[in-house]
């Protein structure tokens, strides 16, 4: 008798399957991958002023778009699609096979990470080509960028899976999840310059990961001198790391302990 395949092995297989399924849903591919580009085109055309010497609004906005892309692509998409999969009985069927829950989660994490990478490449390419986006030249900035995308993607995936237990049905999921994400984006300085927001809003935003991701992305795309204009007069990368790790832990805990495979 052969052994059942390992959880990681199956997780990678599931990742491949998830990507294949995603790629065949043309509408959602276009929407997910191009939405940030469209937003950049709109905001970049409307707001042409500079925020600080050498910092255009587009430059500031790209940092926010990448950060909120992580939230949209991971948290929002999963918190909506997983209840749908549950509604049609797909999750219950998986539960009845030897595939462990962790493989399902790994598959989702792979899907989110891959679509995030494609989304970022499109956004950066478009920004450089049409909106004079300046790319960082310092390798340490790219390193920061890499861990932010990786950790942000993992955190967003885990929280999306965890939050999928909240909506009662797939149909109602979007109504529960989307407002949370939109409010979070406004509070976290994605659409506006963070320091211009009321203090209470800044304080609320500081509880959640998006504010930290956005600020971290600014540290990558804005000049070093801009750090003095942040609320804490610095990029606070260490705090960002800690906050994201805490949220990742919360997400993983609820995903593992509370995940719902069946409607009732």
């Amino acid at each position: 008798m052969n052994k059942v395949p390992s959880a990681l092995q199956l997780g990678i297989r599931r990742g491949g399957l998830e990507i294949r399924q995603f790629a065949r849903q043309r509408e959602s591919v276009v929407f997910t991958l191009l939405f940030p580009v469209i937003l950049l085109a709109i905001f970049g055309s409307v707001f042409q002023e500079t925020i600080a010497p050498g910092v255009t609004f587009s430059q500031y906005f790209v940092a926010g778009m990448i950060a909120s892309g992580l939230v949209n692509t991971g948290f929002q998409a999963l918190a909506i699609t997983i209840p749908m999969e549950r509604d049609v009985g797909a999750l219950k069927r998986l539960r009845g096979t030897p595939m462990p829950a962790s493989s399902y989660f790994i598959g989702k994490a792979i899907l989110i990470f891959v679509s995030m990478v494609i989304q970022i490449l499109l956004l950066l390419g478009f920004g450089v080509a049409f909106f004079g986006l300046n790319m960082p030249t310092d390798s340490s900035k790219w390193l920061t960028f890499a861990w932010l995308v990786l950790l942000g993607s993992a955190c967003s995936t885990a929280l999306g899976i965890a939050f999928s237990i909240v909506p009662k049905s797939g149909r109602g999921a979007s109504a529960v999840v989307s407002p949370i994400v939109i409010i979070l984006q406004f509070f976290s300085g994605v659409f506006f310059v963070f320091t211009q927001l009321p203090t209470w809003m800044q304080q609320v935003a500081a509880i959640f990961p998006l504010k930290w991701l956005t600020q971290g992305m600014r540290s990558v795309f804005l000049p070093e001198s801009f750090a003095s204009q942040e609320v804490a007069k610095s990029w606070e990368l260490q705090t960002t790391f800690v906050v994201l790790m805490i949220w990742l832990a919360i997400g993983v805990y609820f995903s593992v302990r509370k995940f719902k495979w069946d409607r009732d």
């Binding site: 059942v4 065949r24 219950k92 009845g96």
Partner: protein, 283 residues
């Protein structure tokens, strides 16, 4: 030891006692059908056996294993069973082959993917997207996914709902073939003709307990129950219940000088017996 052993199983939801001290044994290699009206505790019982639900009390052993156990042991256990659930409409963007092939990767000793596609009659739909399958074809895909792991024990929940008569017959012969290959099959169905055609034994569940377990032919004393003889006498249809239908028929034959007009000799169908049984408990 029997393949499935259930003793004193109970389960309640709030004030509703869905299962109230149920005992059941299912032997290796049989097709065992569970019958019962909606709300009788049928689904709850089967889902406890499948490891989808926890129980309140009682002992349950499926393939020598407690289905409520979690972790790696549970994976090894699931590797040996197949489950065909009632509804599913997932993965519309994958083809039949892709889906079955993917699921085959979950198991340690899966059946051959092409062979399974053939056996459920989906060869022509091998590369079709699942979203384009008909209801009956989807159901056959469900069955394919249930058997791809080469299970020792297969649970089938209302497997032929939405099948046309021809597809049902084909499905029945597939199930008999699986049994011939050594699998044990637990079938829940609303179709009594299906239970009759397939099952070696049937259990009737009502109000959370087993009413009777027997072969389909013997259920409710069916094989020894009175036969009904019906014939035409002039312009009247007459019928009589009797323990000795043969002698009644021969006396009728004598009376009519040979052929008895519109003669029918029947025993109660499984459905008659079943309805009587669950009606009886309802009182």
């Amino acid at each position: 030891m029997s393949l499935i052993e259930v003793k004193g199983l109970t389960k309640h939801y709030g004030d509703v006692h869905a299962v109230r001290g149920l005992d059941l044994t299912i032997e290796q290699g049989e097709i065992f059908s569970i019958l019962g009206p909606n709300g009788a505790g049928k689904t709850t019982t089967v889902e406890i056996l499948e490891g989808f639900r926890t129980r309140d009390s009682g002992s349950v052993s499926v393939l020598g294993f407690d289905p409520s156990t979690k972790g790696q042991q549970s994976r090894e256990w699931r590797n040996r069973i197949g489950i065909v659930l009632q509804t599913s409409a997932d993965a519309g963007d994958l083809t039949v082959f892709e889906t079955i092939n993917h699921f085959s990767g979950y198991y340690s000793n899966p059946r051959d993917v092409e062979e399974v596609i053939d056996s459920v009659g989906l060869q022509e739909k091998r590369d079709a997207l699942i979203r384009n399958l008909s209801g009956g074809q989807r159901r056959r895909l469900d069955v394919a996914l249930g058997i791809i792991g080469n299970p020792e024990l297969l649970f089938l929940d209302e497997p032929t709902t939405g099948f046309d008569p021809e597809a049902r017959r084909a499905f029945w012969s597939l199930i008999k073939k699986l049994r011939a290959d050594g699998a044990t099959i637990v079938l829940t169905t609303h179709y009594l003709d299906e239970a009759e055609a397939l099952a070696d034994r049937v259990a009737v569940i009502n109000k959370g307990v087993i009413v009777e377990i027997s072969t389909p032919a013997e259920l409710g004393g069916r094989s020894t129950s009175q036969a009904t003889v019906q014939w035409r006498d002039g312009d009247q249809i007459k019928s009589e219940k009797t323990d000795n239908p043969t002698s009644l028929v021969s006396s009728l034959s004598a009376k009519f000088n040979g052929e008895v007009p519109e003669l029918i000799v029947s025993r109660p169908s499984l459905e008659d017996i079943y309805l009587e049984m669950i009606g009886g408990v309802d009182e």
